[in-house]
Symmetry: C2
Subunit: 237 residues, 2 copies
DNA sequence: TTCATAATGTTAAATGCGTAACATTATGTT
DNA sequence: AACATAATGTTACGCATTTAACATTATGAA
């Protein structure tokens, strides 16, 4: 039994060193902590997935959304479809637009597909989308903050809603877990409902960005009818 | 001259595929884009640091704060001192505390050094701190949103300030660019001033977390006197 | 069409990573 | 103190990654 917890201490220090950096040389960490590279290797393998060793470097394993492994799997399955839908959505965006990007597993791809040099104002309320947008040069980013929900990596709260209601949006890109002819458009997380609704209300045009697997599905939280959208952007028709 | 920009297209698609994942197999990307691994390798080297190849995988280079290379360098210089200061600060935190963590290059390390299993409520207003905190299991995270400032990776805005003024904080961990006996405590970014001040006001105890290199320095934006803090937590005395 | 140039594919060799096996040192117990 | 066990260090070898060099295919211009 490791009474001392030295390994855990080192892992925390590795985490601290990694804060900011994307990857660090195995040798550098070993030198910094005054142990051998082999020990760092062993630490990383025992870290339970917090870190990973790749090509002599350590990287933070940085799993998108902590916990939600179900979503993560679904993610991979329809990855190509989502990418296709996002590519279409990205073509709708013009220079100097003010866009709203919803949360979920589809929308980060849209954020990543925005033309690199295009001047934009982007509004979002999820951590993974914000992170992608924050790296852009010519984009003004507004993140609606509040209480963090790990399942969707999104935030919720009245102050943020108030702020959203005072913003004007050209194009809102909304995602959904289900699109049904009679039951309308639904998602899984109730706290997202008021945000999505406010975004749709404030936007000149709203677009529903979903892969075709969502058609016919129904989720718990209803937030709009299909008629609320200027168009449904999907990999198929 | 690459008139077509195929490479750039692929880089965007790689970015989109990487959205969420920390790393992706080189072979998987090559298969998805229908090109050879060698081409992906060349893309990555020509990406100007956006991506990196490590151990047969591609990772997002994920540079902490886009742009601020000056800070990034200073960062590295006093890295050990900052880590030491943060380690001391981390020891002040107890189970079930509500803590405020400031923005900057020091505080991400504090966030990373928080005991892994400790139950906490954490308030922050910078993207890099939020990202680290969001991976914790037993922590309720509140991010103060608003307009993004790339230089400090932080957010500002009246709605977030209002929200902060309604929160109660046990311990606020504040960073600074300068600590001076007569000129007080200062930082470089004016938009941070009202946030820091509100946090100090709402906190039972505020702690100034700085490495010793900050002593005697003065920056443009004044936000507090040294007397406002329960103690100054630094690598030296 | 023909040519020049860019883009991509293929192959092959060497560097360096990753793993295992064993040696050594620390730690705690009786 | 002597022992058992955990923790770390060292070495060496197989193999995947990486790089370079060259072959091939696309692209655009004259």
């Amino acid at each position: 039994m490791s009474r001392t917890g030295l390994r855990e201490d080192r892992l925390e220090r590795i985490g601290a060193m990694l804060a900011g950096q994307s990857h660090l040389k195995l040798a550098a960490i070993a030198a910094d902590l005054g142990v051998s590279e082999m020990t760092i290797r062993r630490d990383v393998t025992e870290s339970g997935g917090r870190f990973a060793c790749l090509g002599g470097h350590v990287i933070g394993a940085h799993n998108d959304v902590a916990g939600d492994y179900v979503l993560e799997k679904e993610h991979d399955q329809h990855a190509a479809a989502k990418l296709a839908a996002c590519a279409k959505a990205a073509r709708l965006i013009e220079e100097d637009d003010t866009i709203f990007i919803d949360c979920g597993t589809t929308t980060p791809r849209l954020a990543a597909l925005l033309p690199a040099e295009m001047r934009l104002t982007a509004i979002c309320y999820s951590l993974n989308v914000a992170e992608i947008l924050s790296r852009r040069q010519n984009t003004r980013l507004i993140l609606l903050g509040g209480l963090f929900h790990p399942a969707a990596a999104s935030f919720s709260g009245e102050p943020a809603l108030e702020q959203l209601r005072r913003l004007s949006i050209n194009k809102a890109f909304i995602s959904a877990g289900g699109v049904h002819e009679t039951r309308g458009v639904t998602c899984s997380h109730f706290h997202e409902v008021p945000v999505k609704q406010a975004a749709i209300e404030r936007a000149v045009d709203s677009y529903l960005v979903v892969d075709a697997s969502k058609f016919g599905k129904v989720r718990a939280a209803h937030f709009a009818e299909t008629g609320a959208f200027a168009s449904i952007v999907s990999d198929q028709d």
